[in-house]
Amino acid sequence: MMLSSELKAIYFISLKDIKSYYFKPPNISWGIIFPLAMTLAFYLRNPKGMIDLIPGLLGMTILFGSTSMEAVVITFERRLGSFERLLLAPVSLEGVLAGKILGGAFFGFVVSSAMLIVSLFFFSFPRFNLFFLIPSLILSALVFSSLGAFVSVAVKEVFEAQTLANLFRFPMIFLSGVFIPVVILPLPVQIISYFLPLTYSVESLRESLLTSHNIISYWVSILVLVVFSFGLY
């Protein structure tokens, strides 16, 4: 009974966030236009090698889609006091955070799925595997949404949330194999890469779309993403 009401509350918290924040036109356009613009920029520079960048760009899309709004939404609600309404409800703190994280993760998943669908019109992926792809996208969205929530509890102002989120995001983009494969990075930098969740996100997406010859196997990446999800939560 208690578990059922907790699960219902988690569902309603995410549903409310999805309706009132995530799926508003500015967010949808930002969530879709930003990754598409990035993809187009890389395509124009190097049309032939573009397909190799898709897993990295997908990972980056989930990273930005899930963390951006998540960090802002919680900070914004804490600032206005409406977050306290959730804390006053008969739901555990873990339940409130789970509701918030699921809302952000859903947005990240939808935005990255939209980008994936668009990319399917242009590229023929040699190892396209939907059963590998979906867990990878979902877990990546959960990890990065949790990262957004983690950032939001550490700050008081909305702009601080964005600044702190960027402190995590931008180094990850350059160190996690989005643009430059991890194996060609200097060894000390490679070591740092293995501590970053985006590395495992990109690796698992690469195996789901392009090649089985990865530096980290799909299942190891999935396992590490599960650990990151729980760790950050």
Partner: protein
């Protein structure tokens, strides 16, 4: 620690770092009563409410709300109480109706009852016309009403109201007091914090006076007033109430116990009967002309001044940056 009382508090304490915000307080709230927590801003009222609602962990002591421990059975406590925080904090981006529905969802109200309950509450608070208006577009009084309505969605047996009328215009404040009385008539226990002495006097069955984190009196308003009845209280109108030494001179007169200023008049508490002859002569010698004299019944405010040793003006200070 299950009890029949609505709230039972023993030695409740809260430190913020080294600062002692609530200092080992004890009190009990009976079921069905309106209990006031009266004190100046910064006395520890909101901290106490936040501990009782499970938002803050006490540093020491115990408390049960609706028969459940606030530390060990927090979710049980939360499901049985309604809380109206000091700031009206519903969701700006949702309409009045959507806010109530969302609260109904959080409190597990079945789907077929949620709409009906939300409609009922909008009617009760005369907000039917604002059903589809965004919370952000409502007036301060309407926001306050809707925040109270949201706390009642699950029909709690106990409701916490933190400074419910603070910052409201006279009409809105009066409407809210009427609603509080209606809730009480329906059997709801009400725990109310206020720095408004008159509000506490009008609404509460019993009042706890809290100053600097300590409860210094718990009693009915009548009993608190009686505690100053051994005094004679008079109100003096002065020709020039702003003369610099006037207040200090009155205080210095032998036999004067308390003095406070209400606009252009001075309310003076004498120990025993006022020695009129010598007192008026004392004022005349100092060039202070009296224009009127009224004998007053002691008020809760007089009791508060006597009990706390604070001036009434300290209760009039609103918190900085308070939002509706």
């Amino acid at each position: 620690m299950k009890t029949c009382s609505a709230i039972h508090v023993e030695g409740l304490t809260k430190y913020y770092g080294d600062f002692l915000a609530v200092d080992h307080i004890d009190f009990q709230v009976n079921q069905g009563e309106i209990f006031g927590f009266l004190g100046p801003n910064g006395a520890g009222k909101t901290t106490t409410i936040r501990m009782l609602c499970g938002l803050l962990k006490p540093s020491d002591g115990e408390a049960s709300v609706a028969g459940f421990s606030i530390q060990k059975e927090t979710v049980e406590v939360k499901s049985r109480i309604g809380v109206v925080p000091e700031i009206s904090n519903l969701y700006d981006e949702l309409t009045s109706f959507e806010n109530l529905l969302f609260m109904g969802q959080l409190y597990g109200i079945p789907k077929n009852q949620r709409d009906k309950r939300a409609q009922e509450l909008l009617q009760l608070f005369r907000l039917e016309g604002k059903k589809d208006a965004l919370f952000s577009s409502l007036s301060k009084g309407m926001k306050r009403s809707l925040t109270i309505a949201a706390a009642l969605v699950h029909e709690p047996s106990l409701i916490f109201l933190d400074e419910p009328t603070s910052g409201l215009d006279v009409m809105s404040a009066r409407n809210l007091r009427t609603i509080v009385k209606q809730l009480h008539q329906q059997g709801t226990t009400i725990f109310l914090t206020t720095h408004n002495i008159e509000e506490a006097n009008l609404l509460c069955h019993r009042i706890a006076v809290i100053v600097n984190g300590k409860i210094i009196a718990v009693d009915t308003p009548e009993a608190l007033k009686k505690s100053v009845q051994e005094k004679s209280i008079v109100e003096l109108g002065m020709e020039n109430p702003n003369l610099p030494d006037l207040l200090e001179s009155i205080k210095a007169f032998n036999g004067v116990d308390t003095v406070s200023r209400r606009q252009d008049r001075f309310v003076i508490g004498f120990k025993g009967s006022p020695p009129w002859g010598s007192f008026l002569q004392y004022l005349q010698e100092r060039q202070f002309s009296v224009t009127s004299v009224n004998t007053l019944q002691p008020t809760l405010e007089d009791a508060f001044v006597k009990i706390t040793g604070l001036e009434r003006e300290i209760m009039m200070i609103e918190k900085e940056g308070k939002k509706g």
